[in-house]
Symmetry: C2
Subunit: 374 residues, 2 copies
Amino acid sequence: MKSRRIFLQKAGLSALALNISTFNPISAMPNFLDAKKMDEKPLRVAIMGLGSYGTRVAEAIQETKRTKLVGVISGTPSKVEAWKTKYGIPAKNCYNYENFDAIKDNPDIDAVYVITPNGLHKDQVIRVAKAGKHAICEKPMAVNAADGQAMIDACKAAGVHLLIGYRMHFEANTLEVIKMRKAGEFGTPLFFQGLSGFIIGDPSQWRLQKSLSGGGAMMDIGIYSINGARYMLGEDPIWVTAQETKNNPEKFKEGIDETIQFQMGFPSGAVASCLSTYSMNNLDRFFLNGTKGWAEMQPSTGYGPIKGKTNQGPLDKPHTTHQAVQMDEMAAIIFDGKKPEVPVNGEEGVKDMKIIDAIFKAVKTGEKVTLKLA
Amino acid sequence: MKSRRIFLQKAGLSALALNISTFNPISAMPNFLDAKKMDEKPLRVAIMGLGSYGTRVAEAIQETKRTKLVGVISGTPSKVEAWKTKYGIPAKNCYNYENFDAIKDNPDIDAVYVITPNGLHKDQVIRVAKAGKHAICEKPMAVNAADGQAMIDACKAAGVHLLIGYRMHFEANTLEVIKMRKAGEFGTPLFFQGLSGFIIGDPSQWRLQKSLSGGGAMMDIGIYSINGARYMLGEDPIWVTAQETKNNPEKFKEGIDETIQFQMGFPSGAVASCLSTYSMNNLDRFFLNGTKGWAEMQPSTGYGPIKGKTNQGPLDKPHTTHQAVQMDEMAAIIFDGKKPEVPVNGEEGVKDMKIIDAIFKAVKTGEKVTLKLA
């Protein structure tokens, strides 16, 4: 699919040609319709930060119907050269971290997807906003809520969208569980459990440097359990408690959390019990329990496929590349004003940051921290 | 099996007859051997408290190889009459709560299994000990650690055994996971999760009366997660934190916990995250995660069958009635001095009570409570 899309882009073939050349007319229909939309107006995206996740997003964009990778911002000239060749990116759409404010004068770029270390997001998103481009920012949006709010303010002032890279918010099985919960099929939701963990490798990576990451596992993957608690219960927490355990202080230095257990309470009386760790694999599970039923997702946030079941049976929505769905949905938000089932805007991002701030405070003080997110 | 055993007991048939009458000689072999042991010397048990769990134990005893139900202690004469008939219990082995100290003069009873409300265990077990009989006490052994210690002291002074009704400590799949953990098949254990919950019915039952129960869900089922954390990780906790949520204060009055989330830390750096509730079904799950593998049991503590799997495959030990295995193993402890894989003595019970005391303190103070169980 990816190579076909690239081929078609390069060859300048029409959407109609794409449809005709497809064997299966049923599966081709959405392609036909959406490719038509793309001809009308694709969201032209530059990726800032050409690391492994940036690469994943670039690949996913090749699968999208309404977005196009048109530019890059990177501090590594060799990467820029490789991407220019691979994705047919024109030299005029390539920037580095010093000169990318000039993007404001580039009419061929609509949005910048910031996929850099967390600690850099704030300044970079603000610069993107000032350049008049929509900002898509990888999660966590920042390293604390205050920075997140500054990003919202800058984007509002510039009249551009700020969207957070919450790919799970668009995942089909996740949305199915949310739909079932809203329809009352689990009764009253009372408990959410989120386990998020993997054993992190290279100790020199930016994710283990406080100035770049803003924290450890919590910032990187604990946020999935926070997201999950909120969208699966359908509420925002009013308190958090948290307990940190650090078994390897050499690898996980001051300010880099290795393992945090955290709990949240919600206005309805529902509770959440979560764990975030950089020291264990086999932890990617969501569990929602209500008075009438339950949902279990495992894996719940990996790149897919997401697997799960409810008291009614398996969750069987087909897998699609998360980042591709995310990008197309973000194009719909920007172009059509579409309201996603679960918000992915800056305000949503700041709620998560406020919760992370509270978790860190709870770890530090040992006390229950109350929250007011509304 | 139950009715056959009763028949054989009544008919006075020999163990050899049992063996010969069995179609499958392989499955019959243990029966043959153990029935022989029983002929030699069964543990003759009186049950104190003829409620639903007492009834379950009585039925299980019919399946055992080395124990025999020979007496009852009850405050309800109609129940005593029914049990006399059903189990062939002689009138001289029937007592009530006023006169059961006279059991000391009854040479036909070896042990009393106390299956009464938690708040009564202490005095009743001490009276059993003073009567010179071995005490088997349903869990939780008491309503706090101090009472539990008093029970230990009384049994020691009387030279009788004190065993706690920890049926899971003898369950085959549970023991398989423990064996695998000890063999290092999960690597270093780092995380245990225990979820224990069901929706409790009749609000007038003793379990919802503080003076009889000593607490709510924690005393009744939270203790399973505490047990699980300890035997699956193979350590005793050094700290606990806990958060209580009460959504129905009419049903769950002062001192009766509805839902408690609790966390424990262990000397190795492992952590446990648990939930105990009387307001949710579908919560009976253990999960053990180590550096090399994991085990999941769900259901993990129900009356069975226990189901589970590890990273190596399904746990497939066949189901046997938990209470029957427990009783036979307890006979082996008493008669043979057998050391069970996981202790079930009073000291083990007091450790759990100390943890529950600490959880209640953590709920009350909102602070981390340190523990020294060794």
